[in-house]
Subunit: 335 residues, 2 copies
């Protein structure tokens, strides 16, 4: 079966690749949050017994991948391709995880939208019979992200209300045509949107225009409205970014009703002192694979739009005075 | 048409996606090398009038992409997806280039094998009719890579004979089914190979086992021998890595004859004081798109295997005592 394009941005998958397994592994803070009962594993030691947080993050991704594969009673030998990524320089979490897995590997980078890029590509490869089974994964870790993008946590730099808290954890899923699980029916690949914003302490608002851009293109390509979805889940816009996203969508004449939620707002409670909410590649991955899929399985939602968002800057470009280019990808999942 | 898998690692593209345009833009040192007459543009100012080398690298990638699109008398509006990557933290060259291009974008990271990953994915997406036209690009820059991975060049740290010189430049190509140009017929996606080597001053030897692994799997999957190719072009193993690659392949009972050349050895002459040879994402991209495609067009070679290689480490993992995981992807191009 061949895929069918809808407009320039969206593809429909007639072969209906399915999420045949999914695993979410999180750290202790996420385990204390409102979604704690939906995660497959909560690790109480965020360092996982390792000396460096980079090695710890790897353990989260390796665990999530192992669980996703083992749920199918398969081994990594049975998986045809591994598409994964993370926030760390040189995508080391996915690269080192690929070393453990020994599955043909392509590393992806769309910042916190990486999980969306991986899902879209995996669905395409499975739908077009290039591969039979594809493993996707994304991870982040509070300690690795904080020291790479901001300051060493030992400095205890005061956080602003718009700051977000990087989720510690990893999500992994296997996509295949054969098997049980919700279908991936559409993907809309985003373009890079840059409103000239430069505030790295407010990534949610920085990414919101990209989320709105991809979302509006998705609706235009598919001829759908928000009413066609039971849930529209943005990646990690958090409190302020979500507000801006709703505003931009409203300005375009689209009413979201009560359909929109944000993974960064769902994963932590306000009492957890996380600023505006959660962030990181793992945020939408663990909320999507943990919470959303289980709610879909329970019949609460039937058709969900995942809208992971990412900021494609680096500390170097920020110091060089550049604004922050952002991207969002949209993936439709049907139960 | 659907793709046909050969073994676990290799895919055959029955729809014959073609490289319908290709552009290579390099810096002054590359322009003084033996391949100077094959590049589409040689920029005499490696800084491109910019204040920072990161901004300069972006100019190289933007130029290569513009040229590849303009050769077809198209605009970026006509291109369905942009798959690109580079060596810099947070893949900023490709991310910022995507901001200029406004084409739906997925960032890739396979270190210096990124161009291979991009070509393989682009060929798949075109072959499976997910997109009609895909733009691929990869870049590197001596000054950005040196200061990110090693030392500020102002320190003038003494180089070792096994050190390689990062190519300044970018290669870009458009893949489509309609149009003239050599076909992409097969791709073999590599697994991550790590022989426990840790010497960041000898990346060629570190990457050679991954090149050999992917190459041997490619031969096994396709039932081919080196004799079936007119040229087997490794990415950037350079002098020492090429020697190790030949040795590993020979140990596996495969004779390469005179079929093997390395992009890192071709791009500079020994008189240019580049240590073991060239490296960087741009190395195999500009040698492949500049030199190899033009030689194919002239009838010298008919069937070429591109074998870009990449080292998936970061300075952080190196300082943490980790060895260097590597990957290589193989792409068959037929004139």
């Amino acid at each position: 079966m061949t895929s069918k394009r809808l407009g320039r941005w969206t593809v429909h998958f007639p072969g209906s690749p399915r999420l045949v397994s999914a695993a979410s592994v999180v750290g202790p803070k996420e385990g204390e949050g409102p979604l704690h009962s939906y995660f497959d594993a909560i690790e109480l030691d965020p360092m996982r017994g390792e000396m460096c947080p980079e090695a710890a993050e790897r353990r989260f991704m390796e665990d999530a991948c192992s669980r996703a594969i083992q749920q199918l009673a398969l081994t990594s030998e049975d998986i045809d391709i591994f598409l994964g990524g993370d926030l760390l320089n040189q995508v080391i979490t996915a690269g080192f995880t690929a070393r453990s897995l020994q599955i043909p590997f392509i590393g992806l980078y769309s910042a916190c939208a990486t999980f969306g890029a991986a899902l879209a590509l995996a669905a395409t490869l499975v739908d077009s019979d290039w591969v039979t089974t594809a493993l996707v994964a994304a991870s982040s870790h509070y300690q690795t992200a904080e020291r790479q993008f901001r300051y060493p946590i030992e400095l205890n730099v005061q956080r602003k209300p718009t700051n977000q808290w990087t989720v510690t954890g990893a999500g992994a899923a296997v996509i295949a045509k054969q098997g049980q699980g919700p279908k991936v029916t559409h993907a809309t690949i985003g373009r890079v949107v840059d409103y000239g914003l430069k505030d790295t302490n407010d990534m949610g608002c920085t990414m919101a225009p990209a989320a709105a851009d991809t979302f509006l293109r998705h609706l235009a390509d598919t001829g759908r409205t928000p009413g066609d979805y039971d849930l529209i889940l943005t990646g990690d816009l958090a409190a302020y970014g979500s507000k801006m996203f709703r505003h931009l969508v409203k300005e375009a004449g689209i009413g979201l009703g009560n359909k929109h939620q944000d993974a960064g707002q769902l994963i932590f409670s306000p009492q957890q002192k996380v600023g505006a909410g959660g962030s990181g590649c793992a945020c939408v991955a663990v909320v999507g694979l943990g919470y959303v899929l289980k709610q879909m399985a329970a019949g609460r939602w039937h058709r969900v739009l995942l809208l992971p968002t990412g900021a494609l800057f680096s500390p170097v470009t920020h110091l060089q005075g550049e604004s922050i280019p952002c991207v969002a990808h949209a993936i439709v999942i049907e139960g």
